[in-house]
Symmetry: C2
Subunit: 469 residues, 2 copies
């Protein structure tokens, strides 16, 4: 039985004084936003910040300073991360078959790939379109470089499917005896641009050298293979340091709730980035949105009912230790963590939120999103939160993910082109405003979202959260 | 006094039998074109072919074989080229001032740049927007890296102006004592993509290390310089081999004229390319258009009135020795070279021709272009021919340049992204057809174009030909 919209609105209405806050926040986060300047500072002065690297350490120090400069209570929580480094990387077509002259291929190692030994790996290339085709190669794969070639569709919806080739392709190739793997870059545009990302050796697959090739070079390999056998020399200097782990940290700050400080609304993004670009869209944009949201909330005459906690997670990209570590460290507190919201979809304008909190939760978030009408960001749909907050969701915490315009997101994602110039200031500012309003609303609303059960009543999201990595 | 259009048409009308040829050629070059397959073969199996490199030598052998496979009389004419090689290249922001962490910049050496000595060049960066600003730096430039930062407009019209910064900027910086030069890439799109190109030490400037930076890195430098002093470490392994010259060749083929074989219509393109990409649009496309035009003309029941000669020039990009050498070797023949047509504007669809042959010549070319109406390629305007044929124009030869759709040309030009996948087959085929028809028409028309005088009656072209390099 449905309540009338009017009745629903009356039931949910917070006290009159609080109702003015979202409007005021909306004006402030748009008029006096620090988000753009902060993002320029992070990406220009710190730059790339792959987990375990000195860049990541500099980013941790920068974030702590930035929160403190905003007058917030901030602190670090230690996270041990696996430290993978890139090193030299090159690939070359070898003369023979259809290849008359050696030719460089634009490649970049995948996260967690081992390096090639000695003088590099020289092997014949064998092309497949899917994990199934790779698994079916059997003895044909032995000693070869398995080349995963599957075009990603423009716009982003194709990422969930094709990301499987990157995360699981090399392990699949290893299981049938391949000596190496090349994966067509997951990209919706390319100027000979390789896109990196994590690959996984789950299931006990023996690690083999694995790299992404640019879209152009994938098409070149495809055309050459139609002419005859093709051999590639692959040289990767990547691998894990010794010891393979480094001490790092999540960076936290919070505004204590005025009535129920023990109840927490978490707003998060990830501070680490891939090393090729400066991580402006993935996920520097999310970092500065979270910073701006907490700052604006702290500037209100009174704090919201509940605590709002900002968490900048470490190593979303290549291990998720920050997200997993937060869930472990705060396990006792998770029953009172009433919502977790992640911003990890770039710097585009806000569209709304995806929510994992059942149908009742969806309806509540729709009401809470109503002040976002002027931003045209009231679309609220069932769907996964971000990767960092997925361990919280497993513990029952309702999760939300800021949805943004992403038509060009995968042009830049995980490539050297993820840089500050791709950000349209007004769009980033609007997304920061959407995060601010939603954080305030969740922390102020009289009611809370339903907890997530192990079989949530909403449709499973099409893209599992970790695939966004 | 103007003739009526009808009278003009009657005066210009070739014999009835010949009038059918353009229509037949138009159908054949579109229905049975080898242009696309040839371009794939050149770019995929030979790949980059910088003058003086083994790739260029392989391209010369490939082109000779290809002409012969078409049943044409083909030969080589020796050309001595300067052989510049690229080697290692990297640049890094150094910690200090606003820079908290070292950060890689995407750079590529400019053609004719010397390498950096020993451990590379470390120097403070000073930004200028023009050659004039650089020249005015005086002692401020001493020991510094002068950074030429000027945005190129989208679409191509900006190339002529901004190319001056690349061709003349480093020499200008050298004259005021700079230790090195960085030039913002001439590009209408970028995914952190540096674009190379020739720089010149004319006027006796002492060579200094000179590289292009990607558009993104140019904007990064600009933002950082607003925060404080910025130092860059530049390491370039480029330079001239010892000896600095290599024997190479122009590749020629021809169809002898049936009535006036001593009169020559030259159709040309350049066989060399920059080394970063595979030179599909610059100028593999022109090469295969010229090959296809000569092949189709050779397949006609009878040869045209005059000789059609295809010339694939060597080292248009970094020295123009092929174009200069052809003009010297054929000096005695140039008074009977009735036209030279170059295709060096990519693989886009044809728009028409630019012509340097006076107003009378323009009118004739307009009539000869009429069979191109179905290709919408009848736009005929005064303008320069290509770089390779500019020495012929100086000797009085009327020149034409195929004009093409180039809205994305400078997204790829001189970068690693100049690869076969950028070619739209139907557009390349249409441009090959336009070259074929114009070559036939010029070789068959009863009349010839007026010779070019030292002060041609047409308006000087806005972009001097060598700037297309």
């Amino acid at each position: 039985m449905l309540a009338t919209p009017c009745l629903l609105l009356m039931l949910a209405a917070p006290p009159a004084a609080s109702a003015e806050v979202p409007e005021r926040l909306l004006r402030a986060t748009q008029g006096q936003s620090q988000a753009v300047a902060r993002l320029a500072e992070l990406t220009d002065t710190v730059g790339p910040r792959l987990a375990g690297s000195p860049g990541a350490a500099a980013a941790v120090a920068w974030a702590l300073r930035a929160f403190e400069a905003d007058g917030l209570k901030a602190w670090l929580e230690p996270v041990t991360v696996t430290a993978w480094t890139r090193g030299e990387e090159r690939a070359e077509l070898l003369v023979g078959g259809p290849v008359l002259r050696p030719q460089r291929l634009a490649v970049t190692a995948l996260g967690n790939s081992p390096g090639t030994a000695g003088g590099g790996l020289s092997a014949e290339v064998i092309e497949v379109r899917s994990l199934e085709e790779a698994a079916a190669l059997g003895a044909q794969a032995r000693g070869r470089i398995v080349f995963f070639n599957h075009a990603m569709a423009t716009g982003g919806p194709g990422y969930g499917d094709t990301a499987q080739l990157r995360t699981r392709g090399p392990a699949t190739a290893s299981r049938v005896g391949a000596a190496g793997a090349l994966v067509r870059s997951l990209a919706t545009a390319s100027l000979r641009t390789p896109h990196t990302g994590m690959t996984s050796w789950e299931g006990g697959a023996s690690p083999i050298p694995a790299a992404a090739v640019s879209v152009e070079d994938a098409e070149l390999l495809h055309r050459l293979l139609a002419r005859g056998p093709v051999r590639v020399q692959l040289t990767l200097g990547c691998g894990f340091a010794s010891p393979a782990t480094v001490e790092s940290a999540n960076v936290l700050a919070e505004v204590r709730g005025r009535e129920r400080p023990e109840e927490v609304v978490l707003i998060g993004a990830h501070l680490d980035s891939w090393d090729l670009g400066t991580g402006a869209i993935d996920d520097g944009a999310g970092v500065v949105m979270v910073m701006e949201a907490l700052r604006q909330i702290s500037l209100q005459p009174q704090a919201p009912r509940r605590t709002v906690r900002a968490v900048l997670f470490m190593n979303e990209e290549n291990g998720l230790e920050g997200g997993l570590g937060y869930a472990r460290r705060h396990a006792a507190e998770l029953p009172r963590t009433v919502a977790a919201v992640e911003a990890d979809s770039g710097a585009g304008r806000p569209l709304g939120f995806s929510v994992t909190a059942g149908e009742v939760g969806l309806a509540l978030v729709r009401r809470l999103a109503s002040p976002l009408a002027s931003l045209e960001a009231t679309r609220v749909e069932a769907g996964a939160g971000g990767a960092d907050i997925s361990p919280l969701q497993e513990a029952g915490v309702p999760t939300l993910s800021l949805q943004q315009e992403t038509s060009r997101y995968f042009d830049w994602h995980h490539s050297a082109a993820d840089t500050f110039d791709k950000v349209v200031p007004a769009e980033l500012i609007a997304s920061a405003a959407a995060m601010t309003i939603m954080a305030w609303q969740l922390a102020e609303a009289p009611e809370t979202l339903p907890r997530v059960t192990s079989s949530p009543p909403v449709k499973a999201p099409p893209v599992p959260a970790p695939d966004r990595r």
